[in-house]
């Protein structure tokens, strides 16, 4: 039996009778705690702690997001969130993880530019071809469990993605 509110297995099962109607309630550990139910004694607490830990991690990441600031133009993440416009080209790297999400959701999951490049396009085309090759190599390295090589390729890919001066 799964929890009424999510797909996790229910650990609390109750029949609530209210105004003559009876209703079955099935809750997982987290939703049971949230609803104020005491957990059954056999529920190992360790099962809950990792979840609480991950909540704390998400909170920490969120607070890091909120305090992010672009060193080049001084734009803060809070202002960006409000205006939805960036302050300068360097903001794209300063707010990278958040912007990645914004762009991917607005662009139907697209993650890379495939269109034209400014004059001097030959160099950019070379970089783009190189990226495609490195991404394939990285996939192959991971599949072959060559983790050192994969880490090196990942760093090189990151360096490729830094903006043009």
């Amino acid at each position: 039996m799964n929890c009424d509110h999510c797909d996790k297995p229910a650990v609390v099962h109750e029949i609530v009778i209210k105004g003559g109607d009876s209703k079955e309630v099935h809750l997982c550990a987290e939703h049971a705690i949230a609803a104020g139910y005491p957990l059954p004694a056999e529920q190992p607490l360790a099962d809950i702690f990792p979840k609480l830990g991950s909540v704390a991690k998400v909170e920490a990441a969120k607070s890091k997001e909120r305090s992010a600031k672009c060193a080049a133009c001084g734009l803060t993440f809070t202002i960006f969130r409000k205006s939805a416009t960036l302050g300068c080209p360097a903001c794209y790297d300063a707010f990278m993880p958040m912007i990645e999400k914004v762009i991917e959701s607005a662009q139907d999951g697209a993650t890379h530019h495939l269109g034209r490049s400014p004059v001097g396009g030959a160099e950019i085309e070379r970089v783009q071809n190189l990226r495609v090759k490195m991404m394939r190599d990285l996939e192959a390295a991971v599949a072959a469990e060559q983790y050192e090589r994969a880490a090196k390729l990942r760093d090189e890919l990151k360096a490729l993605d830094s903006p043009s001066p």
Binding site: A84, C88, Y92, D108, H112, R116, S117, I124
Partner: protein, 355 residues
């Protein structure tokens, strides 16, 4: 600009029965400068100098070798700014905002560059009818010419960097202003809007972002700018989506006429009668009735030229009306009276011309 009707908005072109105008707009920023929201007035002035130099240099030997007019909006009279916005050459926001900003405008008013709008440059080509591929070529020709004289901000992964991160990549916005009275009568507009959203198209009103639809005019534009080439985006919008929208509207018109002929004739002829008889007329009321008449004209119910309707749709707007007769600025009543008189005369002339 003091010409009362030289703009793309008052002309006709291919598929004009449904497509009023086509537009391609490219967002570009000059590298080395912050985006507009973080740019002080002196920095904005500097951006304007860089763009003006690039425009002057790049115009030599291109379609624009007679030069582009340079209009600084912060010092332009308010009427000129409104004229530009009524002609859809600048956004309403750009016409009314503050700070140093300019418009470079070709003599035929098809090509223009908004300087210091949301991005440093918004390079635009606007023309009548369904001519997106022409607009596409012309906008990129101008962009290329400018790129030879200035560097645009570019990121190897994200493409052309824009102030709003959702425009990155190609930084291209292709739009078509459609007249959809058939869909409206058949109560299909909401369905079309929903379908458009599923195709990642934005549907906006007569004056673009944040404006409402007046007289069944809707602006459709692409929202995807990343992960595909410019040509692929054009092919999808111009080759697949737009023909379907046009076909859909034409079918709706035929079906509407077959089913509700008397009702449609009533709407069309009443609109004509209204505009031929009114003594006081607001811009919105005139636009609505002209839209109904436009439907009657393209369906062969009214013996009037489509160009007459298109021209009037522009001329009934307040700033354009004041070019024809400045007395319209004296009071609200004067504005309505001048509009009604002008439309009445023009319709009388338009009907006699075609007889």
């Amino acid at each position: 600009m003091s010409q009362p009707f030289s703009a793309a908005m008052s002309q006709v072109g291919p598929d004009s029965d449904v497509v009023v105008t086509s537009r391609v707009r490219l967002a570009r920023n000059i590298s080395g400068f912050p985006f507009i929201s973080r740019a002080s007035n002196p920095v904005r002035q500097e951006i304007m100098r860089v763009v003006r130099r690039a425009v002057d240099q790049s115009c030599n030997g291109t379609d624009h070798d007679q030069g582009m007019r340079w209009i600084e909006l912060q010092s332009a009279p308010s009427r000129d700014r409104i004229l530009l916005s009524e002609r859809h050459l600048v956004s309403r926001h750009f016409a009314n905002s503050d700070g140093p900003r300019a418009l470079a405008l070709s003599n035929d008013e098809h090509s223009s560059i908004m300087v210091n709008e949301e991005d440093h440059l918004r390079i635009q080509f606007l023309c009548a009818g369904s001519r997106l591929s022409d607009a596409f070529k012309a906008a990129f020709a101008l962009e290329n010419a400018l790129a030879n004289c200035t560097n645009f901000s570019f990121h190897p992964r994200w493409g052309y960097l824009t102030a709003c991160p959702t425009n990155v990549g190609c930084g291209i916005r292709m739009s078509a202003m459609l007249h959809l009275p058939g869909a409206q009568i058949m109560k299909e507009t909401d369905r079309i809007k929903r379908a458009a959203k599923e195709l990642h198209l934005a549907v906006r009103g007569y004056y673009g972002e944040g404006s409402e639809s007046i007289g069944d005019f809707f602006q459709f534009s692409n929202q995807t700018t990343l992960g595909a080439t410019e040509d692929a985006l054009l092919e999808e919008f111009n080759g697949i989506v737009l023909p379907r929208l046009i076909g859909y509207e034409r079918e709706a018109r035929t079906a509407a006429l077959a089913r509700y002929r008397s009702r449609i004739e009533d709407i069309v002829f009443r609109a004509h009668a209204n505009l031929s008889a009114a003594r006081l007329l607001t811009a919105d009321a005139a636009t609505k009735d002209l839209s109904r008449m436009r439907f009657g004209v393209v369906m062969g119910l009214l013996p009037i030229e489509l160009t007459t309707i298109q021209r009037l749709l522009l001329q009934v707007q307040p700033a354009h009306l004041s070019l024809i007769d400045p007395r319209s600025l004296e009071s609200e009543e004067a504005d309505r009276e001048v509009r009604a008189t002008y439309v009445r005369q023009e319709l009388l002339r338009g009907t006699t011309d075609t007889k």
